[in-house]
């Protein structure tokens, strides 16, 4: 792979992006399993909407299944965003400023989308 064009320095970006995706997947799976197990054990049904951000932590503290399920869904939605952050930071560290700026632009667009969800 060292013969590949411009590839070796970029390997760090791939390695870190993979790490974030794997952590995100494992976290999602663990939260989802915990939520489903709690729902089955306590006879709690699945809610019909995801709670606002401010209600998720109290639900987790109370051990309610919906807290874990809501957090699993949000973790899935946020994992690609975390990957973009990682890519932007790593590209900047590698001196690839132009592509770091492109990644930052993507991040700003995603944050705008998340901003809409705060106005519920």
């Amino acid at each position: 792979m060292s013969d590949a064009v411009g590839q070796a320095p970029l390997d760090l970006v791939y390695t870190r992006a993979l790490r974030v995706l794997r952590v995100g997947f494992r976290l999602t799976a663990a939260l989802l399993l915990a939520g489903i197990a709690l729902a089955l054990a306590r006879g709690q049904g699945l809610e019909r909407t995801v709670d606002p951000f401010s209600e998720i932590l109290p639900a987790l503290r109370d051990g309610h299944s919906r807290g874990f399920i809501d957090l699993a869904i949000l973790t899935t939605m946020l994992t690609p965003l975390a990957t973009v952050v990682t890519i932007a930071v790593t590209l900047h560290q590698l001196g690839e400023r132009r592509f770091a700026r492109y990644s930052l632009a993507v991040l700003l667009i995603l944050l705008a989308s998340i901003g809409t969800s705060l106005i519920r």
Binding site: M1, Y14, T49, V50, D70, F99, S103
Partner: protein, 280 residues
């Protein structure tokens, strides 16, 4: 919602993820029409669920493509500006739009998907001294031939326009966008099929973030639909990646062109105010 319905939703999601991963289409193209036509799920809720399922599928699928270096990350980040912008606008329009025009649009997209499956993907040969003014040249080792494949995506402006369109469709319909982007990357931008699929697989997850939070803000993310969809995707995508090695994708494509045409006609009929037998 009763347990039997949850299991049915999970099985349907698993099946769409399995087929989607084998055909390179993504499951949203099948999932949204099936949820609305056969399970009477509200269209916006189905799109919200599909966007989360697409994100889940992307997280799983893109790890494989990133490991193989099929994903061109520089190229992806550049195109993603257009795709994510399109998705944000598309989702904002789509979450408020009436059902009927969305059904018409989806029906047309399914027709396009059926047509694009019938077109043979092109192998790409590139001269070693092809200029790379945008710094998006990339390479990967093709596991089938063990050869190093190097390419420079062409027609970047056209690619950005198509990416914006793919993002808008993703936002309005809950599909991944790959159904538009992969053929465009391969045929118009001269990106090898594996790199196009790998790059798109990564991009659809990022695009789904822009879409899903807009639907979350309108309370269109329903855990009773999303949870079985996520579980189904976990199972179906894993099974699909194993079956791909054993089953001919070309034979499968022929069958699923028919399925896509059926779903397309169903949505267009529904938009006209009618429904086919067995559909809601």
């Amino acid at each position: 919602m009763d347990i039997l319905r949850l299991i049915e939703l999970g099985l349907v999601s698993a099946a769409t993820a399995l087929v989607g991963s084998m055909l390179g289409l993504g499951g949203g193209v099948f999932l949204v029409p099936i949820l609305t036509l056969f399970f009477d799920v509200n269209q916006k809720v189905a799109i919200g669920a599909s966007s989360v399922a697409v994100a889940t599928n992307s997280i799983l699928g893109s790890t494989v493509h990133l490991e193989s270096r099929f994903t061109n990350l520089r190229f992806a980040m550049l195109l993603q500006i257009a795709t994510a912008s399109g998705a944000l606008v598309g989702a904002t329009v789509g979450v408020w739009a009436p059902e009927r025009p969305i059904n018409v649009l989806f029906g047309l997209v399914l027709l396009y998907a059926a047509g694009s499956m019938a077109i043979r993907r092109k192998s790409v040969e590139m001269a070693p001294d092809t200029p790379d003014p945008h710094g998006i040249k990339a390479s990967f080792v093709d596991p089938a031939t063990k050869q190093l494949v190097t390419y420079v995506p062409q027609r970047l402006r056209l690619g950005l326009g198509i990416s914006g369109l793919a993002g808008a469709l993703s936002g309005m319909l809950g599909v991944g966008g790959g159904v538009v982007q992969v053929p465009a990357m391969n045929i118009l931008m001269k990106v090898p099929v594996k790199a196009a699929a790998g790059t798109s697989s990564f991009m659809v997850g990022v695009t789904a973030v822009a879409t899903s939070f807009v639907y979350y803000s309108r309370e269109r993310i329903d855990p009773a639909v999303v949870v079985p969809a996520m579980v189904g995707v976990f199972v179906g995508a894993q099974a699909g990646s194993r079956l791909t090695r054993r089953v001919s994708a070309n034979k499968l494509s022929a069958y699923f062109v028919i399925v896509l045409l059926y779903l397309s006609i169903s949505l267009l009929v529904k938009a006209a105010g009618y429904s086919l037998p067995g559909q809601s």
